[in-house]
Symmetry: C2
Amino acid sequence: MSGLRFIFEPASVAVVGASNNPKKFGNIILRNILESGFRGRVYPVNPKERVIEGLDCVDSIPNLKEAVDVAVIVIPADLVPKVVRDCGQRGIRGAIIISGGFRESGERGSRLEKCVAEEGKRWGMRIVGPNCQGVNNPHHPICASWPLFTMKGEIAIISQSGTIGTDFADLACLDHIGISGIASMGNKTDVDEADLIEYFSEHQGTRVISLYIEGVKRPEKFLKALKGCPKPIIVLKSGRTNRGKVAAESHTASLAGNDEVFDGILKQNRIYRADTYEEFYDFSKALAYLNRPKGKRVTFITSSGGAAVLAVDIADRMGLEISPIPSDVKEMLKTFVPPGASLRNPIDLTGDGDSPMFRKTADLIRSHCDTVVYIFGDPIVGASGIVRRDASELIIFMGGAEVERKEKTLMQKMKVPVFPTPERGIKAFSQVFKFSSIDKVE
Amino acid sequence: MSGLRFIFEPASVAVVGASNNPKKFGNIILRNILESGFRGRVYPVNPKERVIEGLDCVDSIPNLKEAVDVAVIVIPADLVPKVVRDCGQRGIRGAIIISGGFRESGERGSRLEKCVAEEGKRWGMRIVGPNCQGVNNPHHPICASWPLFTMKGEIAIISQSGTIGTDFADLACLDHIGISGIASMGNKTDVDEADLIEYFSEHQGTRVISLYIEGVKRPEKFLKALKGCPKPIIVLKSGRTNRGKVAAESHTASLAGNDEVFDGILKQNRIYRADTYEEFYDFSKALAYLNRPKGKRVTFITSSGGAAVLAVDIADRMGLEISPIPSDVKEMLKTFVPPGASLRNPIDLTGDGDSPMFRKTADLIRSHCDTVVYIFGDPIVGASGIVRRDASELIIFMGGAEVERKEKTLMQKMKVPVFPTPERGIKAFSQVFKFSSIDKVE
């Protein structure tokens, strides 16, 4: 086993600082490892306890029965260098240091962090953190982090902020699309975004990689990782304004750098960039779950004229082609659409539109465009029954209240992403064209 | 009773086309009127039924016991002109025509709509619709619309799209802030945005007015209404691009007009404009529920460094002033914040930050800035206990999963708006400065 697989796919784990106090992270993380369905061996380490969460407790790393793959360390910062050395001596190759009190807390902490890094290097260890929220790999599975997310998906999150990683995973789980991994980087004393991009490049469960960073310390290594990654990477980088740069420096002592230079690097390497946190999530969801269309011709089918006008405005701005409806298709549509329906594109079935009408319309128009955009306005019962996982389709649902929530859940469980507003849906969808020659195919 | 009060605050209602079939709008609307808590008299009108929803049914308008304040009409388009005439003759002054099949459906429909308009004028009636989703006034209360929303709030929605009105109200009710009214305008054959702005200008429950339109037919009347309205108006107008204009014309035969001209008119009249549907909602929520600060100086208190950097980036772009923390305040903060905390602005309490720490920090800093921005990252138990309804505060909550959802609900029930991302929160908050001289006060 090489690289970071020790850390993300361990067969055995020690939790140093495991606790019986349910409020302490030493207990929360241990429970999450157990409750995430981890099938390997788990060793709580704490000199003051004999049994934690039903497991025999070991007093120290040297007394462990085996050299575990990874040690999760949740103890006061002062004690961490010694424990890292113990791990190295015991032959443990991976460590996740949750504890704070290092570089982010001043000079004394910086010295401690330096000791940790040196010990790690000396023994050939790989270290995530310190001052991080751990890692989660629902495909292994193991959740050496909090809160407990277990829903398997296809997006891996690498985050310099614990909160942003957590919020992203929470959104993905509420959306029933789940996650393929979370890596909270903390102070990045050893493992950084470049290592993690490399790891998730080869991670089978991961289809896209979503990266939140405030700055890059080792630009060459970062560039190499970007170039070597065959999967779409979506980046949200903060610290873009002058005041933001100062704040980023306070947060993780990151050098935010020149934003135009950074932007150029991303573009050259075909990396998707989000301007806001919400775009970060939407773009990731779109690139992970939307099928690639053959070209830019879209046809809107809607039951809401208003939502469709908003969709056309943004589609026009994003350079999509709103393709004409052939006259023979119009004739066939006339046989079943309601009197007030509009047969131009958007095809507006009006408030009388229902699922069977949407389906019949889509079947008629599909071969005349590259993507069918469904805009389900109002409660369209059975909407989930007509969308297709294997076609290029974009789903926007709004104004459907309880019916919308039910149908949306059903669709997203089938891995068909649903977007809540025309603007968010179209903007996310348009990303699939960004670095492709798709528009030249037609 | 004058103007539109017949329609929004009736003492008696007839539902023409009332039905016993729970799938028909003639039944759904009747039930919603009853279930919304309407305290007036309700008369189902249908020649084929004797009792509907437990109420005695009348066979026709001429046989009504009294001239009701408003007739809700849900019958085939062909029959509508006759019923409007009956209403006029019977002395009924208000009508809400739900039925479609008018101007939006072609020439025959246009002729029918013209008849309806002429009958209405002849008898001095005010008509909402046709082809609309009705009206809802939770403060009266009466919901002559669908779905049933009863949560009283302070935002009135005027919408040229039924779906957008419904989705907006649904968001507001999920957010526990409710609505003060919904008016679905449909074809605007008589009552239009100008009339409705005038009505809600004087409506006691309404603090802000949110208007979705695709075009304005009577610009002078519209301008007069804008100028006369003392409350903030937020406008979302679609049909801004060339393709969008064509779509708007298809939808409601609106002349979308020149967007720059429209934008100029809004600015001159101090009307807030949203670029996207989500901004439309966020800006409305901010303008209805945020207290007005004395100036642009903000202090961020956060438990998430990452979310704070995103917030600073957007705050810098929106022209907010990120005020320095006085050194005596820093000294006092040092007595209780965790070791890794940052005492610059943003004040970062780190992941160890909890409610009491947020409260103590806010108490120390409040007098040194105009607005305290709380960024609750992670599950901050008791967050709702520390925010203040009477101060200028902005609340952003993310990464808190179940705890976040619980605390957010508690806050919004107290009419303290909570925003889900730094960008959405700061952008919405910044609207309060748009047409004010607040920044010149300091």
